[in-house]
Homo-oligomer: 134 residues x 4
């Protein structure tokens, strides 16, 4: 694990399971968001801090491979690492693994843009976040 | 619109809005699932019918571009059209548009696999679904 | 239906179904919130208008009876009518019915408080909302 | 804490926050469900085991008081203790507390019924669950 990678551990909860008896495909996308928040927080860039600077992060592209079904009670780890830093955007690589077996449940590349909370227009990635990209 | 494209109209609900005041990125993925269900249903392949044949559809890849923010009360249309049919998988193209302006809010390419509800292994796409691919 | 009652019609979506094959108990609570938004909106008191007055509504008590299971694709109506108006709170009665049969799926009594969006302290119910209570 | 009370600790995640900047009222109801699952599991009555006996638990009444707002990143404890056992139903008392301060965020009384997974009719509470009521 690189110095800037973050790891979040979660437990699959009952309401995340759908009619097929496994975690719904949209819930994986929530898990990824939780992982990104943990990634920001390790740099002190939690939601409130960024918003205090007038900036929020929004998803512009998501490429997600679903590898394995996940079930209620399973412990998952969501890893997030910096991939590429642009002027008003950045890209992270994320993986969801089963903690018990180490098997990959999903992997994703996510492109985020930083926007001004008032104008909703792209603004340069705040220094506090940019530093996560080394 | 091709003969086999389906269009589902929805209204953005309050609990779909996140702390940023817009539809959460994971909710777009739920919207896409709702759109695919409408697509299957126009062929009579609703969830219960497919499950009665011992088959469920699961997402294996999602490539999703977020184009515009959506807000509470907005009417959205979710279009789904067949892109490519494999032996145990298929690909659909989906778009989410704002009904009032016609503006694109998101577009996605989604790869689905049909699996046996018991063995969880891929099985050939049922005829009822395959026919949607002309 | 009294003049001030509101009726919202919805369709049960796939991601609202849980592992038991029916709408999850927490989703009923979302449905009720959607119904209350419709109730406020008929008075011109949509979320943005209230927030523009510095006020948000928050739930303080929920008493909810679940009467019938609901399934994917079912059309439901959510009715909301004024029950009692306090100084900084109000109570609404809500019902969720199956549109096809008229059967009651759930009924609830919900107590809401109006709070200041900054101080988070209770404030008098805005006139625009109070008028819904006749 | 009585011998049969269960305590589940969770962290509030970003997608559980709504437009008002706090945990949405319906999410509290999901938290309560997670707490009940933990309560069942301490008796070995996890979802799969009960379903293997042909039984699922469904909510029939929920009385819930919201006491305090909860925010992203807060650690919460969800306690569940047995209140009353009927023939085909049971009642639990649940509390959600802020781990840092011990403050009560919500408390609820929830009535559950055990139903047959096929017939959807009430059946006697399975022994494995009934034992939780001493």
């Amino acid at each position: 694990m690189s110095q800037l990678e973050s790891i979040l551990e979660i437990v699959v909860r009952s309401t995340e399971i759908d009619v097929n008896g496994h975690v719904n495909n949209a819930k994986y996308v929530e898990y990824l968001e939780w992982g990104r928040e943990a990634f920001y927080e390790q740099a002190g860039a939690d939601y409130a801090t960024l918003e205090g600077q007038g900036v929020i992060t929004v998803t512009v592209n998501l490429t997600l491979n679903y590898r394995r079904e996940c079930c209620q009670g399973e412990v998952l780890t969501i890893s997030t690492r910096p991939e590429r830093l642009g002027r008003t955007s950045f890209v992270v690589r994320q993986e969801i693994k089963k903690a018990a077996s180490g098997e990959l449940a999903a992997d994703a590349t996510v492109t985020m843009v930083t926007i001004d909370v008032q104008t909703r227009r792209p603004v340069p990635v705040p220094k506090i976040l940019a530093e996560l990209f080394g």
